[in-house]
Amino acid sequence: MDVNVGQILLWGALPYVSFAVFVVGLVWRYRYDKFGWTTRSSELYERRLLRLGSPLFHFGLLFVFLGHVAGLVIPKSWTRAVGISQEAYHLGATYIGSLAALALVAGLVILIYRRRTTGAVFKATTRNDKTMYVFLAAVILAGTYATVRTQLLGGHGGYDYRETISPWFRSLWVLHPRVELMTSIPAAFAVHIVLASLLFCLWPFTRLVHAFSAPVTYPLRPYVVYRSRDERLGSRAPRRGWERTK
């Protein structure tokens, strides 16, 4: 298998660029723009469609995320070691994954329809949001298409991404990307992965950051929070070298 420059850039460089922008962007955004870090909910404007679309979309997304973890992170040999055959894995992954994708796409369609047709919601949609929606929808649709095309309609056994994409994904984390594995993957997967890399670049600069404020610690804290008055002088931390002397 010969590897050309384009493939090295796509499968050896783009993931790292994307990851770097993602992490540095998130840190920068958190430090610089905590005030802008919010879900920017539009529930106040419209509730009926949101009540249907938002849980469909978000719960679908949670399952899709778990599916990606199972497919990309866990090696084939591990699932085989606990007695799950490739056929069983394939059936499970395909049907659960398809259901999750169905919920996800249905939610997405409802939410985009709502955003476009409800006047107040559409007016509150920024250019930033629209760009993000294009990429988000493209990633989801490409992923769904890839699943339908290669797994549901792809004949017996479907496409075994755990021989190519998954090892490549894991190889990225040990800083030794096995680009050669990616040279022959179906085009649908390639498009999905590239679009996802671009979405990760966009992530820190859009409202998608709210994914990282999932309030997982809420059940662990006491109900009522007490805090002391901020004893800091002025409303901002002083700049370096300008701190007050005691």
Partner: protein
């Protein structure tokens, strides 16, 4: 016992004329921004009426506040922590903008720029949410003064808990105003509902605030607050609420709503309470016992044991003194005329109300009797079940006993002080009939009728002695729009660092403006110094002390840092 201090308010409803000055000044100070058009930290409702947002008191529908579980423990009525997380993608119990009102403006531009034509140009109402033409069908005060109330009054949640014949008769007999701000509860359900932990109760003065940097816009606080006094800023995507004007309170000034109240009906002061017993009091089994339970955890600031414990718990001396002089403590516990709003929500609210006697007086007077006569008034209070039951529905979870007691005290004060005004002795037997002494009646009269600014607002300044000496630290140059203009961050005008509320700057300014000396001692404004002499503070003081003031500046003119 753990003693904590709580800044609290009492409003005397007899004196509210429904002028909405508090609402307007509050809005000008705090919520005249995009995204906050529909937000009224302070609003004045006509009672009976729907309130704002409409029917917010109907907790069967909105599920605000706390409820008791079967095992006697408290849980949020809208569901506990796990339920909150499960419904986080779409909060089913949040009011939508239609439950408040769709904010609008008028197309004023048309009045000036319309082309010449046959008809007079009009300024059509335009929605501030969509920009489209809209028909105005509701607003924050749509049923003000019972306007249109024949259509809507039956939906008043407090009325719905009363018997039907009462409800239909009520409009003829009874109306009063209810100004509302955040209750700054001792057991705040909004704080408990916040998944991000962004809302908190300040340990020093009990003010409930939203940390704008930590709020992530999950909107659970809006549901949690049974008074619906947390609002969602639809521009920034963050929750905002009444701050009890904490920048003013910290420097010893009353809130904007109090300061501007035309009827001077608001009282501000500290109460001390036992933080260890908050949970127990809120979990009192019977709803009608909650008023007494809440009063039982408020501590007598004159009790030496309480004072000693307060000192141990780190409450400063001037704060203890302020708690002792507090008009709130007097009205709640000495005269027992102030009542909490909806204690049955179990949040232990700390903005209390003196229920209005004037509707009763009006009824008596309009029937041709003497509305100032003690016996007539007492009889009327007992007979006029309608106002009594309604007030009890607001203030005591339906128990008319405490409301009747308050109204009898107010009636006794009214009758007694008339005798005094007529040149007679204050009738001790009238005071005794309501369990008070003549002197108490006089004191209460003074506090309710003629108390001056310093008696109505007993507010100790926050402890920022260090900060008090400071000049303004810096101005907000952060973003485009120039100094102090706020402006847009990297993601539009709602991102970036929020415009700071410089409490200490305010404190420093207040100190300087109220100081005897022209400028902050020890500071020299070099821009005003003409170069002559050696003003104080230009150089550090000499260590030997003898050389100090050796060369007093001899220059003329009113300059800062000049001769002292």
């Amino acid at each position: 016992m753990k003693v904590m201090a709580q800044m609290s308010m009492v409003m005397n409803l007899d004196k509210c004329i429904g002028c909405h000055t508090c609402s307007v000044t509050c809005k000008q100070a705090w919520t005249n921004r995009t995204g906050m058009e529909y937000v009224w930290f302070n609003n004045v409702e006509t009672r009976p009426g729907l309130g704002y947002p409409r029917t917010y008191q109907d907790q069967d529908r909105w599920k605000g506040g706390w409820k008791l579980k079967k095992n006697g423990r408290l849980t949020l009525r809208a569901g506990g922590r796990w339920r909150k997380l499960a419904t986080i993608f779409s909060n089913p119990l949040m009011p939508s903008i239609q439950d408040y009102y769709e904010p609008w403006t008028y197309e004023y531009d048309m009045l000036l720029n319309a082309p010449q034509g046959q008809h007079t140009p009009v300024a059509k109402p335009k929605s501030l949410l969509t920009g489209d033409d809209m028909a105005i069908t509701w607003s924050a005060n749509w049923d003000d003064d019972l306007g249109g109330s024949t259509k809507t009054m039956q939906q008043d949640p407090v009325l719905q808990h009363m018997s039907e014949h009462v409800a239909t008769e009520l409009e003829k007999t009874f109306m009063f105003y209810l100004p509302r701000i955040c209750e700054h509860c001792l057991n705040p359900a909004c704080v408990a509902s916040c998944p991000s932990g962004a809302m908190y109760k300040r340990a020093e003065d009990g003010i409930v605030l939203v940390d704008q940097d930590r709020c992530r816009g999950w909107r659970m606080c809006v549901t949690g607050c049974p008074y619906k006094k947390v609002y969602f800023n639809h521009k920034t995507g963050k929750a905002e609420k009444c701050t009890l004007c904490y920048p003013r309170i910290e420097v010893g000034l009353p809130t904007v709503c109090s300061e501007t109240c035309v009827g001077r009906l608001r009282y501000l002061g500290l109460v001390l309470y036992d933080a260890d017993r908050v949970g127990t009091a809120a979990a009192t089994e019977s709803e009608t016992d909650l008023y007494a339970a809440q009063r039982s955890i408020l501590l007598d600031p004159h009790d030496p044991q309480v004072v000693a414990q307060a000192r141990r718990d780190g409450i400063p001396e001037d704060w203890i003194a302020a708690a002792q002089a507090s008009p709130i403590w007097k009205l709640i516990s000495e005269y027992e005329v102030a009542l909490p709003l909806h204690p049955e929500y179990r949040t232990l609210p700390m903005v209390w109300y003196i229920p209005p006697l004037s509707p009763v007086v009006d009824v008596v007077a309009s029937s041709g009797n003497d509305g100032e006569d003690g016996r007539t008034l007492f009889a009327a209070i007992s007979q006029l079940r309608i106002p009594l039951e309604y007030l009890a529905g607001l203030f005591t979870a339906g128990d008319t006993g405490p409301v009747e007691k308050v109204l009898r005290r107010l009636a006794a004060m009214r009758a007694s002080m008339r005798e005094v005004n007529l040149g007679n002795e204050l009738p001790e037997e009238v005071a005794a009939a309501v369990g008070m002494t003549g002197q108490q009646v006089r004191d209460m009269y003074r506090l309710l009728a003629i108390a001056k600014y310093e008696e109505r607002y007993v507010i100790p300044a926050a402890h920022t002695e260090v900060a008090a000496d400071l000049e303004e630290m810096a101005c907000s140059l952060d973003f485009e729009g120039g100094p102090g203009m706020g402006g847009g961050g990297p993601f539009g005008s709602t991102s970036g660092v929020p415009t700071p509320v410089a409490v200490e700057n305010f404190h420093a300014l207040a100190a300087r403006q109220t100081a005897d000396r022209p400028s902050t001692p020890g500071r020299v404004n070099l821009l005003n110094w003409d170069g002559n002499g050696n003003p104080d503070g230009l150089f550090p003081p000499h260590t030997d002390g003898a050389a100090e003031h050796a060369e007093p500046s001899d220059d003329a003119g009113p300059q800062e840092g000049g001769p002292r």
